[in-house]
Symmetry: C2
Subunit: 706 residues, 2 copies
């Protein structure tokens, strides 16, 4: 029997991540199917059954479900103009345009309303010090948790803070439904960030079923790391990439055991998705390509250029989003009218997208087309046309698409609907990559004797010396690296997205260059910028605070020495303690606690929540009852608070350097550390206080992070 | 000017890893070329020039340099029997056999002698507490640093200990040369482990050129992590896999900055190797395959079986190696005669290998053949024969190969030559995988109407319903997972080895199953077993010491309370201090130090090495001079030791639990922590002492780790 209990205990975690993987795959499949149906609804509907999307509706005609781009439309699928029988071509086009915009508007507005009317109060958790700094002294505020990418908040939660309701069951449903709607609306946003959030919600909700994980916050965080991996795994069909993304970008503390769990969770999610097969293609690779040629040495220059361009685009995307959010969205009337903002953005996006054949298709279709190699000239809507005019037209339209996608991404990211940044960043990168690819193809075709490439390109003058699709892929990777600053996870995600490994070295090189360029322009990736913008209490374990080495700050300068303490020899009556608690909460550090001293010697620490709890239990006693913090022979059991005291708080000498303090906070995930001088209590360093200090020395004023 | 200095400082690290990448690639290319030449020398020689290997010698005949398996031999290449003009066929075969064994013997003996006569004394470093526990009180011993895989030692070094000379320039050269020789000898060993060691040597040697890294141990360790990634990157042409291997298996502390550096280092190494092109194929992917079919759902059962088999083989390989080393190598006369042991093993291996056409080829050629898909029946030495007899013969010979490789691996791994475990593990896995593949192929061909697979296999009865090569690949991954217990890094390495991503889900599933099965048989992977066997002081950051939660050990039970302390109020004369140092070194904790107290209150800590250094500077003074540890007005500057005292040692309350102590040691990489009770000194917990304790509670006796 004991053996069964032990193995059940060990098995719980595996069962839990197994369930998370399956449920995440189901949600992802649901969102995918709904979004595909909704996306097609902008163009028309299936006469056979409204519930069918275009692929399934025309399934009998096109053998390969993926090939949406052929011009011979199937009979069962009606465009909206056909539905109301407009036969004049220009009228029909105009009507189709209006129908496209209206359907997009309906979807987006519905999504925005759903998000808005399911906002939750940002309650601080009683369990921990979770609180968003800015709102603390003010009245409680409604937070639209389902909006945005969710990754910054998940990162904050994994760093040890609790945001109540952010990973709840309501957020889960709202996010999934509204995500399907905005993706249908064809806005310039992706679903990977929201999928990570959805997966984490699933992880959080399911871990309530298991006692071991319901009670232990640390263990639950490990489960959330695994869930994040499953989220990316289903968003991109990239199980390994998901594990690495969780490791590199999302998680704070990632021990080996979590790695294994995440790996398993990602496999289960990917296999489940493959078995559900939402796209009816039997494949889960999203942008399957099959380049059959290796790269030439002279192309390395182009890949370097793509790296630089990717860094420039990625960093300026980050910067523009930051500036737009700070100075336009947050300072004008837009702040009060999030739904109107969404409606404006979707109308602009739909209107701009409709005019260009490339932007009119869904984002993923466009990326797939840009990545693809050409086997004949008619493929991929003119991208494969090798004539000068065809190439010029493709170049021109892609340039327009690049500009429109870039600008709409800036105004879209951050609005109050679920929105990820991966797909827009990939799109921008794929556009400029393919443009460079077309230029190279033109050059190698027109000047086959140019010395740099003549030796390798002379034999085949029919234009397949360079593959423009490869340039699109490398450009996409570089642009994404500029936005997120991930390296390893990004490389692996690119492989899994495209299913090809031939171009590992170009992609890696471009990613590295892009990261360097982008780091030079703006120091942090988009997620860290958003964490900063949201004012989340997040101590970045990656940043090396250079100031920490140059300014000779000691713990003495850092610590708060004017905090209330509890001396065990004082007459600590209930009334006094309540007073102290009240003082603490007005001082803005209600999540902190009190050091307990015995004649200036530190003997323990009591968290304010623990003290509150203890006081509430001792409530029967009146305000004058004395409370004890030392093991004495106390008659009144309820007034003996010894059990609530942390007898072994972590201490640090007042001579310790800032570097050591940072190490402790980063690696151990502490919330406070007590400064002592030869055993005597000196002061407390709170994480929140430390963060404020670090922002000062890194030159960022607290006022900036509104 | 200041700007230049700053950016040079920031750039140093990148320049360093850039150099490491290039030099590592050069060493790898050198070893590869030498090993290929030496490998071919066992069979014969090139009449044109002895320096040419078979590939280059016959370059004009075979267009594709890789295709060694065609039977039409080229004229320029002579077998040894042709050289001395033996025309009788059976005599020739016998002579070739002898030549094969003799050449292998010569190479292996040379390698073993080289390793033996370049052993170094295992000197403890003066800088740190580096010492191998068992040899400490005894006389100093010669250690053949160039032998073995090197990964366990590198892991130990990265966990914070210094093994002097292990990463030196001499070890580097000896390891590279002797590695090329043993690989030539065709023994059942691989070169990935030694390559990691070689890369780390390069990293260590090159970082001496940069002041910033020469002086700072922590920073040098980050460089070593990056070097390890470069090592795997060149060993397997797996840059991403290398980074992940370094992260998952080798490194102890892997911050985000190191991830980026490792990524860069791995790219540089891989690109350099591609440009050097040692195999003259223009490709760096080792076992390039191009499967064109997806897997069928019914095959998942087979992949699960492969996972279980992989776990069984991997774990029993670990177990047998452990038992063989412990009870046969270390307890018999073999211990005294390492070179004789090498000679015996190589003769056995060569004799066994010669008889079987599969084992006779080099290990990598065999793996390549097993992984390959079949396009016509004549390919790959009968592996593609679809007739019943052909399949039976292949099955039979592969079974023999499996047994012989498995057994020779057990006796080979651990002998005193450079030897990695990756290739043997891959081999074993590929053998049983291909065997299952052949069985499946036979079944689908013979019983095409069997219900489970009839729906998918009916159409194509010519035997290509299942691809036996895929089974070999999955089996190889599973077997490797059973040996090393890596998950993510292994999956990525498998992709990069084969250049295919189609089989990501089967490989991941098999790896996961294999890991579980293997964990059930023997708890640790081969590297952790070897660390344990070598008695290295390594605190595994991955293991969760369950005992830590169940036994209510407090820090009081753990700490040593009988240590000598230095009281600042005592008359600490130089003579007394020297006495204390001597006592400490005889107690077996010479790498520890002394807590400094002031009337029982802890005020600091001085490491024994620091004290030694301070005493040596104060040498002019006689033994009665008083030394000061407190900032007082000391006239004799050389007797003021305050500067050598760590004023802010990390302390922990005597009430703290074992869990917290472990957290501190694991995450902060501490060597000691001081236990205090209300500021008063209680005792010291040394890492070494902690390790002994942990081994006791996990049921492993110290005597076992001889």
């Amino acid at each position: 029997r004991g053996w069964i209990v032990t193995s059940y205990d060990g098995l719980q975690g595996w069962v839990l991540v197994f369930l998370i993987g399956i449920v995440t795959a189901c949600f992802a499949a649901g969102v995918d199917i709904a979004a595909e149906w909704g996306s097609d609804l902008k163009d028309g509907y299936c006469t056979e059954s409204l519930r069918l999307n275009r692929n399934f509706c025309c399934a009998n005609i096109t053998n390969n479900g993926l090939d949406l781009n052929d011009d011979n439309k199937c009979d069962k699928w009606n465009s909206w103009s056909q539905a109301i029988r407009i036969h004049d071509e220009s009228d029909a086009k105009l009507f189709d345009f209006f129908a496209y915009v209206v359907v997009a508007l309906l979807f987006a507005t519905g999504s925005a309303l759903l998000v808005k009317y399911n906002s939750l109060y940002a309650r601080p958790s009683s369990k921990s010090s979770a609180r968003i700094e800015n709102i603390e002294p003010k009245r409680k505020e409604l937070k639209p948790y389902a909006a945005g990418s969710g990754i910054p908040e998940v990162k904050t939660i994994l760093s040890g803070f609790v945001i109540r309701g952010f990973l709840g069951i309501r957020t889960l449903w709202i996010k999934a439904i509204s995500l399907a709607m905005v993706v249908s609306a064809g806005m310039t946003l992706g679903k990977e960030g929201p999928f990570v959030h959805i997966a984490c919600c699933i992880g959080n909700v399911l871990s309530r079923l298991f006692h071991k994980y319901n009670k232990n916050e640390g263990k639950r965080r490990e489960i959330l790391s695994a869930s994040a991996a499953a989220g990316v795994s289903v968003a991109f069909a990239a199980p390994i990439g998901g594990v690495l993304f969780s490791l590199e970008e999302v998680s704070y503390y990632f021990p080996s055991k979590t790695l294994c769990r995440s790996f398993f969770c990602a496999i289960v999610a990917a296999v489940s998705l493959k078995l559900i097969d939402p796209f009816n293609t039997g494949k889960i690779v999203m942008f399957q390509v099959s380049y059959n040629k290796d790269w030439h040495v002279f192309e390395i220059v182009n890949f370097l250029i793509l790296g630089v361009l990717g860094g420039l685009f990625g960093a300026s995307l980050c910067k523009l989003i930051l500036l737009y959010t700070k100075y336009i969205r947050n300072r004008t009337w837009l702040k009060q009218w999030p739904v109107v903002e969404v409606m404006m953005v979707v109308v602009i996006t739909a209107a701009v997208n409709f005019g260009n054949k490339y932007t009119r298709m869904s984002n993923t279709e466009l990326i797939f087309g840009l990545f693809s190699e050409c086997t004949n000239e008619k493929e991929h809507d003119g991208l494969c046309d090798n004539s000068f005019n065809g190439m010029f037209e493709a170049f021109y339209l892609l340039g327009l698409a690049l500009i429109s996608k870039f600008l709409t991404c800036v105004i879209t990211f951050g609005i109050r609907v679920p929105a990820g940044i991966f797909i827009p960043a990939l799109l921008v990168g794929a556009c400029f990559g393919r443009m460079l690819g077309i230029v190279m193809q033109y050059l190698t075709m027109t000047y086959p004797d140019f010395p740099i490439y003549s030796t390798v390109c002379n034999q085949n003058i029919n234009g397949d010396c360079v593959i423009p699709g490869v340039y699109a892929m490398v450009g996409a990777a570089a642009s994404l690296a500029g936005v997120t600053r991930s390296t390893v996870s990004l490389t692996v995600i690119m492989f899994e997205l495209t299913g090809t490994l031939t171009y590992v070295l170009p992609i890696m090189t471009a990613i590295m260059i892009s990261k360097w360029v982008a780091d030079g322009i703006i120091k942090h990736g988009i997620y860290d910028l958003l964490i900063d913008l949201g004012g989340h209490p997040y101590l970045d374990s990656k940043t090396e605070y250079d100031g920490a080495n140059t300014t000779f700050t000691t713990t003495l300068d850092l610590c708060q020495r004017d905090l209330e303490v509890i001396d065990v020899n004082d007459l600590n009556t209930i009334g006094e303690l309540k007073n102290k608690l009240k003082k603490l909460s007005t001082s803005g550090y209600s999540d902190a606690g009190f050091p307990i001293v015995d004649n200036k010697i530190l003997v323990g620490y009591i968290a304010s929540t623990e003290l509150e709890h203890a006081l509430s239990l001792a409530h029967g006693s009146d305000n004058l009852t004395r409370c004890y913090f030392k093991d004495e022979n106390v008659i009144d059991k309820s007034a003996n608070f010894t059990a609530y005291v942390n007898q072994a708080p972590l201490t640090i000498s007042k001579n310790a350097s800032l570097e050591i303090v940072l190490e402790l906070f980063k690696k151990l995930g502490l919330r406070y550390v007590i400064v002592v001088d030869r055993g005597q209590y000196v002061g407390v360093i709170n994480k929140k206080r430390l963060l404020i200090y670090l922002r000062q020395i890194t030159g960022k004023d607290m006022n900036n992070t509104l």
